[in-house]
């Protein structure tokens, strides 16, 4: 366990100045600023709505972009970045010649990629809540401050996080296998587009495609929430499948990597 923790600490130390880490902070920040600016300029269109509806419209602007394309692509980029730092410097031979268990190096990298994703989604939720409060201060007609949306927003992001773990594990494995950007990125992008098409066409087995899970999860949440009832089911079928795929890929990935020679 100690080896795992120091490996995890080392992952942060190595990546803290790279885009792998900074993207988890900058992306939610920049997107929040841009969308908030849009709502600030067009605040009058939101005025007629109840505070809760204002929140839903505001957060939907983020979640729509996130669920369909941004979250899968962000996960693809982050997993690539976490592993590319070793590929780029030919560091695998050096890492695997250290007196550390291979599982600790492998799992700390995977956990770090998961933590980056969690950080990014937490910041999205935090920035949206902060931006809502700020908009209320700047525009008195916007009444975000009259409704506590935090619980629901955090639950939405938690569901998105869980639904994205399948993609994360697959992409993590692909970027471990290949040291170039195009293969994992290209495959990830194609499968994301494939997932979107299958889901939009209403294919009944679209829930089996991990790259469609964030989108399906989002659509289910939207269909379950109404102005009268904001509750929705957290652990739905696609979330369970995402978790199962994540677990299986994580374990399979370890067996492949641990038996692989470092040339």
């Amino acid at each position: 366990m100690y080896a795992f923790l120091i490996s995890l600490r080392s992952e942060f130390f190595k990546t803290r100045k790279t885009l792998a880490f900074l993207s988890a902070i900058l992306l939610p920040l920049i997107l929040t600023i841009l969308i908030s600016a849009g709502f600030f300029i067009n605040a009058e269109k939101m005025v007629p709505y109840q505070p809760m509806i204002q929140w839903m419209r505001f957060s939907s602007a983020f979640l729509g972009v996130m669920g369909f394309l941004l979250l899968p692509m962000l996960v693809i980029f982050q997993t690539y970045s976490v592993n590319n730092i070793e590929h780029k410097s030919d560091m695998w031979k050096s890492l695997f010649s250290l007196p550390l268990p291979k599982w600790s190096m492998y799992s700390s990298k995977w956990v770090y990629a998961v933590l980056l994703n969690a950080l990014c989604l937490s910041l999205f939720a935090g920035f949206v809540l902060a931006a809502g409060q700020l908009l209320s201060l700047l525009k008195a007609d916007l009444r975000f401050n009259e409704y506590d949306f935090s619980g629901l927003l955090l639950k939405i992001h938690l569901k998105m996080f869980l639904a994205s773990l399948g993609i994360l594990s697959i992409q993590f494995f692909l970027s471990l296998l290949w040291d170039d950007f195009l293969k994992p990125m290209g495959i990830g992008f194609l499968l994301t587009v494939f997932g979107i098409i299958c889901n939009n066409l209403g294919w009944k087995y679209a829930f089996t495609i991990p790259y469609a899970h964030p989108m399906i999860a989002l659509q289910k949440m939207m269909s379950q929430t109404t102005p009268g009832s904001t509750d929705f089911e957290l652990l739905t079928k696609e979330v369970y499948i995402s978790l199962a795929i994540s677990l299986v890929t994580f374990i399979a990935g370890y067996f492949v990597i641990s038996r692989r020679s470092v040339r």
Partner: protein, 297 residues
């Protein structure tokens, strides 16, 4: 023995890159692992570090079988394989600090290592902007960081200027003589190994062709007598019938040298038997030729 391989063979696909290699590296020596490019040096080193896997349990380090005691063995080894592996976006100091963190080493040792390899002034510069020699020195500092009992270095003087090479040589000699470390160092340069090593292993095409002390290697480096006479075959027969070892090579007689007196006796013998001796000279093969002779077959 600190390192011992027993009939180690290794294949890349169907190509045999190591053929029955039996290394024996004694404690406290500098073992020069010599061979031309592509001879199998790096493959051997990667097997010793468990980066490539031997199909049988035939690699022993510190007396323990490598696959069953991987972590215990690696915790006593510092290594540098091929080009030094460093994170270019981190400074030299951060590269060492990261390694110290992973190995649970006190961060004070980072500054000691920087000073040892003369990188203190460039400690905060990004390692990606280091020259090749500086990167190599940082790689050596990373290998030395855990104060290992065994250092395995693959071509450590690559990219170093003559001063840097001398520094590294002196450092390795000091580590063995004053601190009791063992150094296993590969090189394709005979002169480098000759100056640094106390033991030598010569590998070519995956086969270990020589292994022994540097004195034993020099012992192979014999002096011979080269004789030019009017009738080479007849003169060689006379020498053989008088109990000398003699070979004919390109119209000359070659025979082992033992003393100047012996040369005089041979001259007298041949002249007395009616031969005209055109020349009689000593030929000393240098180690370079010896290395080429060993590795050309």
């Amino acid at each position: 023995m600190i390192i011992e391989t027993r009939g180690l063979s290794y294949f890349f696909g169907k190509q045999r890159v190591l053929d029955n290699v039996s290394l024996k590296v004694p404690m406290g020596c500098i073992y020069g692992f010599l061979g031309p490019n592509g001879a199998g040096k790096t493959t051997t080193i990667k097997i010793l570090l468990n980066l490539l896997y031997s199909s049988a349990n035939n690699v022993f380090v510190f007396g323990k079988e490598l696959r069953h005691s991987r972590i215990e063995i690696l915790s006593r080894i510092g290594s540098l394989i091929e080009q030094p592996s460093i994170y270019p976006h981190l400074s030299g100091k951060e590269n060492l600090a990261n390694r110290a963190m992973l190995l649970g080493i006190n961060s004070r040792r980072v500054d000691e290592m920087l000073s040892l390899v003369d990188l203190t002034d460039s400690a905060d510069k990004k390692a990606g902007k280091y020259s090749l020699g500086m990167k190599q020195r940082l790689g050596i500092a990373l290998a030395l960081l855990p104060d290992p009992e065994l250092l395995i270095l693959d071509e450590p003087t690559n990219g170093l200027d003559p001063n840097g090479i001398i520094q590294i040589r002196k450092l390795l000699q000091k580590l063995t003589s004053e601190h009791g470390k063992t150094v296993f160092v590969s090189s394709h340069l005979l002169s480098e190994v000759e100056r640094m090593a106390t033991y030598v292993g010569i590998i070519n095409k995956g086969k270990l062709l020589f292994q022994g002390t540097i004195d034993e290697l020099h012992g192979l480096n014999t002096t011979s007598i080269c004789i030019e006479v009017d009738d080479t075959v007849s003169a060689a027969n006379i020498l053989l019938s008088n109990g000398y070892e003699a070979d004919i090579f390109a119209d000359t007689i070659q025979m082992p040298f033992s003393s100047k007196q012996q040369m005089g006796n041979i001259n007298q013998l041949l002249v007395n038997q009616g031969h005209t001796v055109f020349s009689l000279s000593q030929t000393k093969h240098d180690l370079e030729k010896l290395f080429l002779d060993i590795t050309k077959n």
